[in-house]
Assembly symmetry: C2
Homo-oligomer: 245 residues x 2
DNA sequence: GGAGACCTTTGATTTTGATCAAGTTGCCGA
DNA sequence: TCGGCAACTTGATCAAAATCAAAGGTCTCC
């Protein structure tokens, strides 16, 4: 997290296109980029920032409708469950994504932090007021929705048509490309999900995930220490195993 | 398809909130609902209507960026393929949905008609001009994107966590609820997809789909004649088999 | 009405991943 | 440093769905 001095914050508010949210004190691509200085100030008066611990629910089923949030750091899992407990993670949100369900009062999603996560959240009505004032904001939200739609459809191909091996490799590739977007694709990183979470994301069991990770390690596609830290010697190789052209 | 007389069309253009597209001569919830009379007229001057036969591509990979379209009648499959040919249908669009990839120049999707389908399409630049003029239009497109996102995530749960039996039942339920939205859930309908298409939608093989359909028939969950026509005696029963609460 | 193509169903067998069941490892607090 | 616990790994077995193979149906076009 980057520290923003008082002077810096003033500079930001004086610039034409502020890209730093005064409330979060963080530069991010969330919702703030399209607002004017005055609107940003308005927003920051209503926003609250907090840290969410792993496994803690950010917003529950049907409840996400209450607030919108920028993810400042960390990873959030979006998941759905069947009545008998079977669970599927339907999306991962990384900083600096925006989270929320604009214009939808109902959502069968649960959002919980996968690792320690800082979020900056706003009440729904404030966002909706800003949307009606600033046409650029709806455009921004719309683009985020389309991005998530693309990602969801890509993942459907993975869930429906890839083998366990390809699924695990695809997962590692997703993490490598999203865990630190500022610095491009990472070749060494900590997995933000447990084996159980990975299984729920891939539509597999814990045991199968573990076996496939072991196989990738034995085939020298990845290196591993302490089960969370992963190194990818050749991203091309990983992509090939993942079935990505 | 409903015939619109000259008088009727005038009435439509004189009403405050026209809901019938003059170009398509059809009442639908596509893109037209939020436009003023003048804008509708503008749009209709640039739109072309055509019939697409089953298997015919509506817009190819990376090409959907060229045009937007309302589906007047029929069903369109959106699919993705892996380099070795494995295919996954990532979405179905029913009339009166809107199709297109607003603000995205690239899309790895293929859209093709599943059955005879009438579409009314517009060039991208006309839509973009209208979006900048009519703020309500972007809101409409945004909502459509969110609806598709919800559907995609629901389907991810089906792909990742349901059994073959539940998948097939879920598919039948989707068709029953979408094939004729004007009249609510249908209890008797023609499947718009071949067994091969259903398999690609469910992440299964043709043979597994066929066996599960047979099983549903033997269990009296559905009745079938000529392999396309399906009757559902009890929608509750079907939903239960599909794992929908 | 019949030949051929294509779609669908059914059957036998194989394979992948799930399930059941121990072990390891690593981490945290006493 | 030592338990104790949770997360992870590994092995043996099982089951669901894939694959391989062969018939039926249905439709179109002669």
């Amino acid at each position: 997290m980057q520290i923003v001095t008082e002077q810096r914050r003033k500079d930001i508010h004086n610039s034409d296109i502020p890209s730093v949210c005064a409330a979060c004190e963080a530069r991010h691509g969330g919702v703030c980029g399209t607002l004017t200085s005055d609107q940003l100030l308005d927003l920051s008066r209503h926003s609250t920032r907090r840290r969410v611990e792993p496994g803690r629910e950010v917003v529950g089923q049907g409840e996400m409708t209450d607030s919108y949030a920028n993810i400042i750091s960390g990873v959030v899992k979006l998941s759905k469950v069947l009545s008998d407990g079977r669970q599927q993670i339907v999306g991962l949100q990384f900083a600096p994504d925006f989270m929320g369900r604009p214009f939808t009062r109902e959502s069968a999603l649960t959002a919980e932090a996968a690792i320690d996560t800082d979020i900056c959240s706003f009440p729904r009505n404030v966002i909706e007021r800003l949307v009606s004032e600033a046409p650029g904001l709806e455009h921004r939200l719309h683009e985020q929705a389309l991005k998530e739609l693309d990602e969801a459809r890509d993942w459907m191909l993975t869930l429906g048509r890839k083998t366990a091996q390809e699924k695990v490799a695809s997962f590692l590739y997703i993490i490598a490309t999203h865990i630190d977007p500022e610095n491009g694709t990472a070749t060494e990183f900590d997995l933000p999900l447990s084996r159980a979470d990975i299984a729920d994301y891939l539509g597999l069991t814990i045991e199968t995930v573990s076996r496939q990770v072991t196989k990738l390690r034995k085939d020298n596609v990845i290196r591993i220490e302490n089960s969370r830290r992963v190194t990818v010697p050749s991203m091309d190789r990983l992509m090939h195993v993942a079935g990505i052209d």
